[in-house]
Amino acid sequence: MIADAYRLKYTFGIDYGTSYTKYGPITLSEPRVVHTRGLFLRDLPESVKMRIPSEVLSRGIVVGDEEVRNYLSSVRDVQRNLKYPLRDGIARKDDDDAWKVLRELTRYSLAQFPVSDPDFNGWLVSSALSALAPDYMYKALFDIFTELAGEIKIYAVTVVPQPLAVAIAENAVNCIIIEGGHGNIQIAPISFALIREGLVALNRGGAEANAITREILKDMGYSDIAREEYAVEIIKRAAGLVPRNLKDAIRVAKSNPERFVTKVKLSPVVEVEFTKEYAWARFMIGEIIFNPNHEEIKSYIDQSRIRIENAVIGDITLYGEMDLASAVITSLRSVSVEIQERVASQIILSGGALSWRVPSGLEDVAVDSVTKVKVMLDERNPELASRTGVRIVSEPQHSAWRGAVIYGYALPLSLEWSDSAKEGWYFVHGSRT
């Protein structure tokens, strides 16, 4: 019999994000964070092999930020051997290397919290996965935990979709979660559970903002810097702006460009300047996430290698060009009419792609994500907008992990995993003890 007091100690949350994995037991105030990646120890010179511990060498893979850095220079072909297993939160079924990395990351996460308590019967692991994750990912994840149960005590495992985990962390029972990730944006209606029929996904996110930043940099004469993803990310964060209205913002920026000129210092010797000629382009960086359907953005897309198009993952279509307000309305239409108003009462934004700041002095034309969503909804459907509250989560990086541990604490152990409902506990030793 597992008591609540036990669950308040030994529930373990793992949030598998595309860029970072957040993990740790329920007792932590913040999770530990590690890059979602692994380094395969292939093509090693014999001299290097000799100084690597034999158990690491036998596994052939290392994870963990510090550990990867230790061996990075030893591996000859970094491009081929440094593996990021998730793309848009999904690992391909036949990508064996990806699953090896995920297994090692899971082992690494749990192994950092050894327990000596004689009453410890094993962890109750609650994992957060993308809402788009296909069925095979659930099964493969359970296989990983079953395999690991031989060396780490695991009592049971469950999986919670990331948007639901965010809603739980925010203590919101009826809401729409908009999760803006690097590769895609998910709009998920919640009413006491995730309403899967209402799930709408957009095939754009932080990566498209990076792509348009790259094109602008090339036009401004910074082609060398545009090649470095790290630099592009910093420039996007520092210079990108979300316009209240793109046309108005561009008009103001072109008539009074001095206000929008900015410099981004990348290092003591490298600085990028958005001159008067290109100051207006800062607004396109933010706008592409919310709505790419503008002539100004389209002309950039046509000239560049950016592709904004529909994609399909499992049975879900990820829309390329649908604007965010339309996506919210499309999602809401799939919700029962009786509860639509309740669900639409609050929209909660989460994720790095929706985290934008407004530099002081530009408040007349630039807005944050919350205001942008309100403005877009008001343009599309004023009645809906007047009844909807929009807010952003307090801890964008940790909320899915926090929701996962609360879910793990609360989900009754009498509920066994059901493939159809995608809910319940998977007992790693077959049946409950």
């Binding site: 739980i168 203590n171 029972v173 006491f192 009462s345 609360i406 609360a410 009754p412 009498s414 509920l415």
Partner: protein, 212 residues
């Protein structure tokens, strides 16, 4: 307070997320954002059809954006849903024996236009002024508290810097104890915030559903 009435208040505040604004006779007032919602509770042992419609009619005279009538399950046979839907009056049925789960909104109220004509320009201006004043007060409080936080952080930081040289010496026993206590308190706070999460109640109730 009547238990059924308490359940109505809990449902409207906790589940529907409205703010309880008080009661006036048998009418409970809630605030849903800027809109006022009135819920008239009619919780009798014996229901009279005429009285039921009289009370529903009385609701229409209230200046609320939405109006609801809350009744016990015994009143349901007398309810003509077409009348309620036509008038835009919401219907809440409360079954106290099932606790909070016994509260069910059978008909959602339609948003109504409040008769603003009665309000003269002077009153409108006064309301506007009062709202503006409260908004400014709120903003002032926010600025004050953020200033206070910053100041507190600054003072704490300076104090910490002053303390640092002393840290080279072995820490006195009571301080270690107080730190351990603080850690324990933080852990307890975390645990209680988890236990009080609304989702915990919802997820736990699934055990009952599965068992049924």
């Amino acid at each position: 307070m009547n238990f059924a009435k308490l359940l109505v208040i809990r449902y409207f505040t906790e589940t529907l997320g409205m703010k309880y604004a008080g009661e006036d006779g048998d009418v409970l007032w809630f605030e849903d954002g800027l809109n006022k919602v009135a819920v008239k509770v009619y919780l009798d042992e014996v229901y009279e059809e005429a009285e039921l419609y009289k009370r529903a009619g009385a609701l229409l005279g209230l200046s609320a954006a939405k109006v609801y009538l809350a009744v016990l399950p015994d009143a349901v046979p007398f309810i003509d849903t077409r009348y309620f839907k036509g008038q835009g009056v919401g219907l809440v049925v409360v079954d106290p024996s099932r606790g909070l789960e016994g509260v069910d909104v059978k008909i959602f109220a339609k948003p109504r236009q409040i008769h603003a004509a009665a309000a003269n320009a002077g009153r409108l201006a006064e309301t506007l002024r009062a709202d503006l004043q409260s908004y400014i007060d709120e903003q002032m409080k926010r600025v004050e508290s953020s200033l206070y936080e910053r100041l507190k952080r600054y003072v704490d930081q300076r104090l910490e810097e002053l303390r640092r040289p002393a840290a080279a010496m072995p820490p006195p026993q009571p301080q270690t104890a107080s730190r351990a206590e603080a850690r324990q308190e933080a852990a307890q706070d975390r645990a209680s915030s988890i236990v009080q999460n609304e989702w915990v109640r919802i997820l736990r109730s699934k055990a009952g559903v599965q068992g049924a």
